[in-house]
Symmetry: C2
Subunit: 407 residues, 2 copies
């Protein structure tokens, strides 16, 4: 009998009415002759409420207790989902991460799954029972509850799919799948039928927030093919899988714009060994995530360092850098917050040249100035003015004919 | 080092401010040189919210899933309480019932504790850590979450107190202790310093709702001495313990009034073997809890049966009985809802005579009619008119000089 792992996100199980609708979906998948394991997130908003309550009793809650607290959000929806299925006359049982045999390392709030004991679930499936599993959580060998980080119910689904060798893994969310661009910005953006893990990863890190990167990396590592689709309709979604030869025929598969970035320029520092290292070590120690980095050395051994950071971290970065500059013999720091990062992603870039030239020419023709450039094997990212970002996305979508990719 | 088990009820941990206040109380008990294990209930109202949500996804939720769902109410407060203690610089850890090693039988929603593995808690206490335990829940040998029934966080505290051989067990609630009568009705009611398990049990079953009977029975069985006291002040409470000789000097220790009762009269039934059994079997099958029962046989072998039931069950009782009467050859059923049950309780009754006479005379002098009488070794219960109940309580309190028992 085919085995499916499904995962429903927080908006898909946002209230009791949605939970009942999802229960009907699950029942119809069973009626079609499948074994089902269903991973659920907390109702939308619940995790934030719990965090707020935690912070109001203690400014810096311990991570062990945060995990113990946050795990109940998913436990609630999974018990309610089992009850909703019972209401439809379907046999179902709900499990916490611990009950589902999901073991992790000891790192609270961002634990890694070490092993899954799938025997109890296998037994339920053989008995014709649907198994509902609380997402985002496991247990460590000392019996403490651990969680995997925000948005990590996808990870539970993908890991269970690997452990149970399921035939399908379906990630239900509030969008229809992965698009060539944000449909709110680019009107002829189209949904992709398929995308490779690497493209999905680059899109995720470029501001397209369909899934947490870690879940995609895990799927890539264990070669779990999964489909991203909507729980609000019955349209087919986007299948995420290892790249196959025909995928490379498409040079660019998507455009992503990230407006949540700031550019920091550290100018007039002495170009001597260790200066850049000092700068980035200080930022890392302050937990500032640095993205695109460019360094130019000007005349007289004076260097400029430019990089981007998340907008919310920019002032922390500034404060961190000021004493460092004193240490390394001077220099100035400036923040530019009115910027956006645009990325084009496609595995076809590996074998096709001229992508960068096409992109730059299209933007130049529209008089859009490129500020920073950073490239990887399958991605080109540029920093441009925030006000021109949407226009640039539309131009890029057009010049690479992304409106032809749907189907 | 002295070891204390404390338990805080739903109003005591009703919101984050109350949780922080309770954390301070716990810290001060530790500062006085005690080891502490603290059991917490769900925030007041949370369990009812969860039940309502369950019923809105499924009219008759399975008991296994109800337990899985309801357990999170206590899990939330216990994690928040540990965080609040961390905020005060105190080392603490929160445990679910399962993590605390509380094992039960398989009976969902009213499980019995079978064994407690106290080793993990012992280890924490030795390390100077305060242990916070989610009340009302355990785990069965198959790994399913079980709960003990509403109000049963007290049971967790008393069972842990027995397992950990604690020096003290303190049940914190929103009243100052056990009173000789309801202070809202009898203005000179006074708080008792001590009361025996049996008296406490009879008071609980007579409408004085300080604690669930099962918790008191458990305490009596394992001889756990506990104190009922308020979390809203620092007044000493009432110590509940095995009766000692001096307690018998006091004839009556308390008066309780239960206005939540209805009287049912089944009249003109044939006095033949099996009639009464048929009546009460039918009520038991319909889950109607029958309390005081009186039967008179009149002339010509015609009998009347009178008994009390909870007010909310009276119409169900009526519906249940009508077909039964047809079966046993006739009779009529009537409900009287305008009644109250008044009980006087005291271990001294065992050795003192005349208690009933004193009570009946006092009420007769005030022209209060007694409708039904039912006695046990340490309790006399009567049914009177609802409108005279408060007056009767005050008279009884006075005639037995209960205002002299405080101090």
């Amino acid at each position: 009998m085919p085995r499916i792992v499904q995962k429903y996100g927080g908006t898909s199980v946002g209230d009791v009415e949605r939970i009942k609708k999802v229960a009907e979906r699950i029942k119809s998948a069973q009626d079609q002759g499948n074994q089902l394991v269903v991973v659920v997130s907390a109702r939308a908003g619940v995790t934030n409420e719990l965090i707020a309550r935690a912070k109001s009793v203690c400014a810096h809650p311990s991570e062990r207790e945060l995990d113990q607290l946050l795990a109940i959000g998913e436990q609630e929806t999974c018990a309610l989902m089992a009850m909703a299925l019972h209401g439809l006359g379907v046999d179902a049982v709900s499990y916490t991460g611990a009950q589902a045999g999901i073991f992790t390392d000891k790192v609270h709030t961002k634990a890694k799954i070490t092993t899954i004991n799938a025997k109890p679930i296998e037994k339920d499936l053989e008995a014709g029972r649907i198994v509902i599993v609380a997402g985002f959580q496991g247990i460590n060998e000392e019996g403490h509850v651990t969680t995997f980080g925000r948005g990590a119910s996808d990870l539970t689904a993908i890991a269970l799919s690997a452990a149970l060798q399921s035939d399908k893994c379906e990630i239900y969310t509030d969008v229809d799948g992965v698009y060539t661009a944000d449909p709110r910005v680019v009107s002829d953006a189209c949904k992709l039928n398929e995308i490779s893990y690497d493209e999905m990863l680059e899109l995720a890190s470029s501001g397209s927030k369909v899934m947490m990167s870690r879940s995609v990396e895990f799927a890539k590592k264990y070669n779990v093919v999964f489909e991203v689709r909507s729980s609000f309709n019955y349209n087919p979604g986007t299948i995420v899988k290892e790249e196959v030869a025909y995928m490379e025929k498409v040079v660019v598969r998507g455009v992503a714009v990230d407006k949540d970035q700031a550019k920091i320029i550290v100018s007039n520092i002495l170009d001597k060994p260790g200066s850049a290292a000092r700068v980035f070590r200080a930022l890392a120690d302050a937990n500032v995530l640095v993205d695109m980095i460019v360094q130019n050395v000007g005349r007289h051994g004076i260097a400029n360092l430019t990089f981007t950071v998340p907008l919310g971290d920019s002032h922390r970065a500034l404060k961190t850098l000021e004493p460092v500059l004193d240490d390394i013999g001077g220099g100035q720091v400036a923040i530019h917050e009115h910027i956006a990062k645009l990325s084009v992603v496609g595995v076809g870039m590996k074998t096709h040249s001229g992508v960068a030239a096409t992109l730059f020419q299209a933007l130049a023709d529209a008089d859009i100035n490129i500020d920073l450039i950073c490239t990887s094997e399958i991605k080109i990212s540029i920093v441009i003015d925030l006000d021109r970002a949407d226009e640039a996305a539309r131009l890029t979508h057009k010049v690479f004919e992304l409106d032809q990719l749907g189907g």
